[in-house]
């Protein structure tokens, strides 16, 4: 199932579920994040959202160190669910702008990065990327 999410992401689509019991949205998963119901429909979510928080990572785990420094962010999609990914921005610039990045609008896309030994998909590793809209 996660493979489907990342394959779609490479085509610019963000896959999720809509709960038929509580009407809330979640990133693709077996059950609803909000109420745990399995009574869900698979849906395509908006590929736009706003930054809720972020951090520039200067010390990375083995397998990710060559990508350092990079900016990890949480984004709230228009449907209300959150997604984790990377901000497509220069790391120093992110820290320079600081807290003002929170609330900024982004567009979501997928980008392939070099794989690492422990990643669950042995064929490729895709990262959700967040590009600032102007």
């Amino acid at each position: 199932m996660f493979k489907e999410f990342f394959d779609a992401l490479l085509e610019g689509k963000v896959l999720g579920i809509k709960c038929k019991d509580c009407n809330s949205y979640s990133i693709l998963k077996s059950t609803c994040d909000n109420c745990g119901s399995k009574n869900v429909d698979k849906v395509e979510l908006s590929n736009k959202g706003v930054i809720t928080t972020f951090t520039t990572t200067y010390v990375a785990p083995a397998g990710y160190d060559k990508e350092c420094p990079y900016v990890v962010a949480f984004v709230e999609l228009e449907e209300g669910c959150w997604l984790v990914g990377r901000l497509d921005i220069d790391a120093n610039l992110a820290d320079e702008i600081g807290q003002d990045l929170i609330g900024k609008e982004v567009e979501i896309y997928g980008k392939e990065f070099p794989n690492e030994p422990y990643y669950p998909d042995k064929k490729r590793r895709v990262v959700p990327m967040f590009k600032l809209i102007s």
């Binding site: 996660f2 979640s26 990133i27 998963k29 994040d33 809720t52 928080t53 972020f54 951090t55 520039t56 990572t57 200067y58 010390v59 990375a60 785990p61 083995a62 397998g63 990710y64 160190d65 990508e67 990079y70 990890v72 949480f74 709230e76 669910c81 959150w82 997604l83 984790v84 990914g85 990377r86 992110a94 820290d95 600081g98 807290q99 929170i102 990065f113 422990y118 990643y119 669950p120 590793r125 895709v126 990262v127 959700p128």
Partner: protein, 398 residues
């Protein structure tokens, strides 16, 4: 089901820090025999082993540790099991060990943990720790544990409208406090070090994940801890100062990004601590001091709110006002916590129990908490994936 009262018979822990010369099982043996010596029992009295370890596979190429550990301490043949719940590994083990005795499955058990993250080095250590974040979505973005709490710090600043610079200064005070207490604890990784940090030292140390600097983070640590539990009745016959287990709670959560705004409210911790208070018949006001999972400065602040000690958004002020210092209303981490004492992940939970028991027995010389009768632990596994709270006291549950 009627439960029996359970008591801590003995506690032990190694010095925390760098142990290149001892394996996971050998480290545990050192902690175990310290606990055993003060328990006034024979080895054959111990019926089962509950052993916490997080990433033995990655740091030492070693899993399936229950039997090896039991054999190392001379308990060949007993039921022995490893518990893994990231940083809460030995706290989960403790809760299960406690209920095993409370419900009559066993009369006497040993619980503890060991870990060797310092010895593994920073790159492998950071990757090993990152196995405790969501293994698909969060890891591919390169989210680390300092990263998790850096995200939380920025969101806390925004949500509670505390300017980030001001919040960072208050966070720095957590580091200053915990290093001050850790520096006088001979078992801590930073014994005699960093006891007199200034706010600027914390703010200006190496940036790890903005806005968290090195001094906002606990270190990578090797170490082990062990606790022997038995029934309250037996403990009263065997030792002079039993410490009673009054309540325990545990809760869970999924990936952090799916917890949305709750990343600063730590809802599983609220559930877990309320479970422990209920079982103990106590409220947060009855707690005299607490060992909180301060893996990062902001983590201690968030935890102190979720456990009901302070309102949401007010934990940072409490630190700045000295409420959480040893002479304050609610001392937090008198032994230095994870920041000052060190954080051998799988050993951390029972090391918190070690400190609480020593303080309650009036045996803790370094930072005694005066007249303490009830102490509590708080252990976080992952990014709120597992939460465990334990309440201990000098009197039996009423």
């Amino acid at each position: 089901m009627e439960k029996r009262d359970v008591a801590v018979l003995g506690v032990g822990m190694t010095k925390f820090g760098y142990h290149p010369d001892k394996s996971l099982t050998e480290l545990f043996a050192e902690a175990f025999f310290e606990a055993f010596e003060e328990s006034n029992i024979e080895l054959k009295d111990i019926e089962a082993l509950y052993f916490g370890n997080f990433v033995g596979e990655m740091t030492d190429g070693s899993a399936n540790l229950g039997g090896f550990v039991a054999d190392e301490i001379g308990l060949k043949g007993i039921p022995a099991r490893r518990y893994e719940a990231a940083c809460a590994s030995s706290s989960v083990a403790f809760r299960e060990a406690y209920y095993a005795v409370a419900t009559g499955l066993y009369d006497c058990v040993v619980v503890g943990g060991s870990e060797r993250l310092y010895n593994a080095g920073t790159a492998i250590g950071t990757r090993a720790l990152a196995t405790a974040v969501d293994g698909v979505y969060e890891i591919t973005a390169g989210l680390t544990f300092p990263g998790v709490f850096a995200l939380a710090a920025r969101f806390y600043s925004k949500k509670y409208e505390i300017p980030l610079d001001e919040l960072r200064e208050k966070m720095a005070m957590v580091s200053i406090k915990n290093h001050k207490y850790g520096a006088v604890n001979p078992k801590s990784q930073f014994y005699n070090k960093f006891g007199d940090l200034k706010v600027e030292d914390v703010l200006n140390s190496k940036m790890i994940c903005s806005p968290l600097t090195l001094f906002d983070c606990c270190p990578m640590t090797d170490g082990a801890s062990a606790v022997i539990l038995t029934t309250a009745d037996k403990a009263e016959d065997l030792i002079d100062t039993p410490v009673y287990v009054l309540g325990a709670g545990q809760a869970s959560a999924g990936a952090l990004f799916r917890q949305k705004e709750d990343l600063i409210r730590a809802i599983p911790r609220k559930i877990s601590s309320e479970m422990a208070y209920r079982e103990a018949g106590l409220t947060p006001k009855d707690i005299d001091f607490v060992e909180i999972h301060d893996c990062f400065t902001i983590a201690e602040i968030i935890a102190s709110e979720a456990m009901g000690f302070f309102e949401y958004g007010k934990g940072a002020d409490a630190v700045a006002e000295g409420v959480t210092s040893i002479d304050g209303d609610l001392p937090i981490n008198p032994d230095g916590g994870l920041i000052g004492k060190g954080h051998p992940v799988g050993a951390t939970g029972t090391a918190q129990i070690y400190t609480v028991a020593k303080i309650l027995r009036n045996e803790y010389k370094y930072n005694p908490v005066k007249d303490a009768e009830v102490g509590m632990t708080d252990t976080l596994g992952g990014d709120f994936g597992t939460l465990v709270n334990i309440i201990l006291g000098v009197h039996r549950r009423r």
